[in-house]
């Protein structure tokens, strides 16, 4: 049985730390979270920065249980994943932004990034299915190490 993980929001950090996880609110009103933010930047331009600054970051809808699965799996591996919860109104814009980063063609309905979306080392890694598949084959951990998400 795992102890319940408290849903506290920590000031976002880029360094990996033992235990806990960092979660960012897409609404930037809270100044305690502005370590990375200038406070006035929009959430979409933030996205690009987050992807490049975090070894592992997952984007998902609030209250999405799939996102929770990704988080738990990565935590279990010793990774400290940053989770970015996307608000419904920002969803479209953020998906477009992520698709651009991922190099996915815009306007292509099938190619667009879907939630939960995991980025490793600044590049789009995939969804839950890919995370599980690569973990089973044993490819995931080496990839995470390469992206400096794991230190062992």
């Amino acid at each position: 049985m795992q102890p319940a993980t408290p849903y506290t929001t920590w000031p976002p950090t880029t360094a990996t730390s033992a235990g806990g996880y960092t979660s960012l609110e897409s609404q930037l009103s809270d100044s305690s979270k502005s370590a990375e933010n200038d406070g006035m930047t929009s959430s979409t331009s933030q996205v690009t920065r987050l992807v490049s600054e975090n070894a592992v970051i997952a984007f998902g809808r609030r209250g999405c249980c799939m996102c929770h699965v990704v988080k738990q799996l990565l935590l279990g591996l010793g990774v400290n994943p940053t989770i970015f919860f996307v608000d419904e109104e920002d969803e479209g814009a953020i998906i477009d932004e992520l698709s651009k980063i991922a190099g996915v063609l815009e306007g292509d309905g099938n190619g667009k990034v879907q939630f939960p979306a995991v980025f490793v080392g600044g590049k789009l890694f995939g969804g839950l299915e890919r995370v599980v598949a690569t973990h089973i084959t044993g490819e995931l951990v080496p990839m995470l190490r390469e992206a400096r998400a794991l230190w062992l």
Binding site: M66, H68, V69, E129, V132, H135, I136
Partner: protein, 360 residues
């Protein structure tokens, strides 16, 4: 000068009383008598017309021309007959429509019954193999998608049993590796077939799939997100694939570990889903259940389909990885072990059911 209100028309000459069809009414009959081209019947608009002279009242007949005085008599009959025909035709069309509707419903019902019969027949074949009797009565297959899946699954189990027998014979007969490889690949693909079937069934009715009512009762005991636990699978396999090389031991260990982690993550996701669902149902005001308030809850329910898909994907990935680690012969032994294990669960189910249904 025509109005289209319905009025009762009395024909003093004919002594008829009938409802006026909205064809035309004479408002003005003062001898001007605009010719009424359409069917005109004998009109009497107001009772004070009674005081009119015969001639004038004839003038109200709608056709001013004198020669129609005689013709108006049969015309009147004709018009009445035509009206009655129209009415009869309309009623007949309505009856026909109702009849066709009834036929359609009966047809659908017939298809449903045929499917049920098919299913019951299939299940009758496995009386010894162990399909739960309770499945015959309340499988919970509420829609045709689930019913179709049950039928398909019945066939799948049949094929599974056949393959297991084939594997058993093959291993005892010391078949060549190439031939054995065919059987192994077939066996693994058979499981993949099941996962595909389940994906379709999940779209039709995810709750039916997750209820496990399509499985036997003992199998249902071990249910995890609509199927068997991947970690259970590995436990079964590991007992029958000895001896393993050192490298294999390491690989199997890593696979077991990774599989357990993924399984735990999915379990926790499901717990979270329960939590979210409970919360959103609590928040919704149930006095008037409306869609917007239940939307959050509905989204959670829709997530179930994805969970089943991910769980099946984990099962498939685990099987695939295992088959990559093992030799052909080891894989064959593993598949046989798995097949026999599930077969025994089904047999146990049927034994239990028989035991329960027997008089004390």
């Amino acid at each position: 000068m025509h109005s289209t209100t319905t009025q009762y028309v009395a024909s003093r000459r004919m002594g008829l009383y009938e409802p006026m069809h909205p064809i035309g009414m004479w408002g003005d009959f003062k001898g001007n008598g605009c010719p009424n081209a359409s069917a005109s019947t004998i009109l009497q608009v107001e009772t004070n017309l009674d005081n009119q002279s015969e001639d004038t009242s004839h003038g109200t007949l709608g056709t001013p021309s004198k020669y129609d005085q005689e013709a108006s008599k049969p015309v009147d009959k004709v018009l009445r007959r035509l009206a009655q025909n129209r009415e009869a035709a309309r009623k007949s069309r309505l009856r026909k429509k109702a009849y066709v509707q009834q036929l359609e419903n009966s047809r659908l019902r017939l298809v449903q019954l045929e499917q049920e019969l098919d299913r019951a027949r299939q299940q009758g074949l496995y009386a010894a193999g162990g399909l739960d009797i309770s499945q015959l009565t309340c499988s919970g297959a509420l829609n045709s998608g689930s019913a179709a899946f049950e039928v398909e699954y019945g066939r799948w189990v049949e094929e599974q049993n056949r393959q297991v027998n084939e594997l058993r014979n093959a291993l005892h007969s010391h078949m060549s590796e190439e031939e054995l490889r065919l059987l192994v690949d077939g066996g693994i693909n058979h499981y993949f077939d099941l996962f595909r079937m389940k994906e379709t069934a999940a779209k039709a009715d995810v709750f039916y799939l997750m209820s496990g009512m399509w499985k036997t009762c003992v199998e249902r005991l071990f249910l995890w997100i609509g199927g068997f636990r991947p970690s259970d699978l590995l436990k079964i396999l590991s007992q029958h694939i000895q001896p393993l090389s050192d490298e294999q031991v390491l690989n199997v260990y890593h696979l077991t570990h990774a599989c357990q982690q993924a399984e735990d993550a999915l379990s926790q996701g499901m717990d979270k889903l329960h939590q979210f669902l409970a919360e959103s149902v609590c928040r919704a005001q149930l006095r008037e259940v409306n869609y917007p308030q239940m939307e959050a809850a509905i989204e959670n329910l829709e997530a179930l389909e994805r969970f089943v898909k991910q769980a099946d994907h984990l099962r498939q990935a685990t099987l695939q990885q295992m088959s990559g680690i093992l030799t052909i012969r080891q894989s064959a032994r593993g598949l046989l072990a798995m097949g026999e294990y599930f077969e025994r669960l089904r047999t146990l189910s049927s034994l239990w059911t028989k035991r329960n249904s027997e008089p004390a």
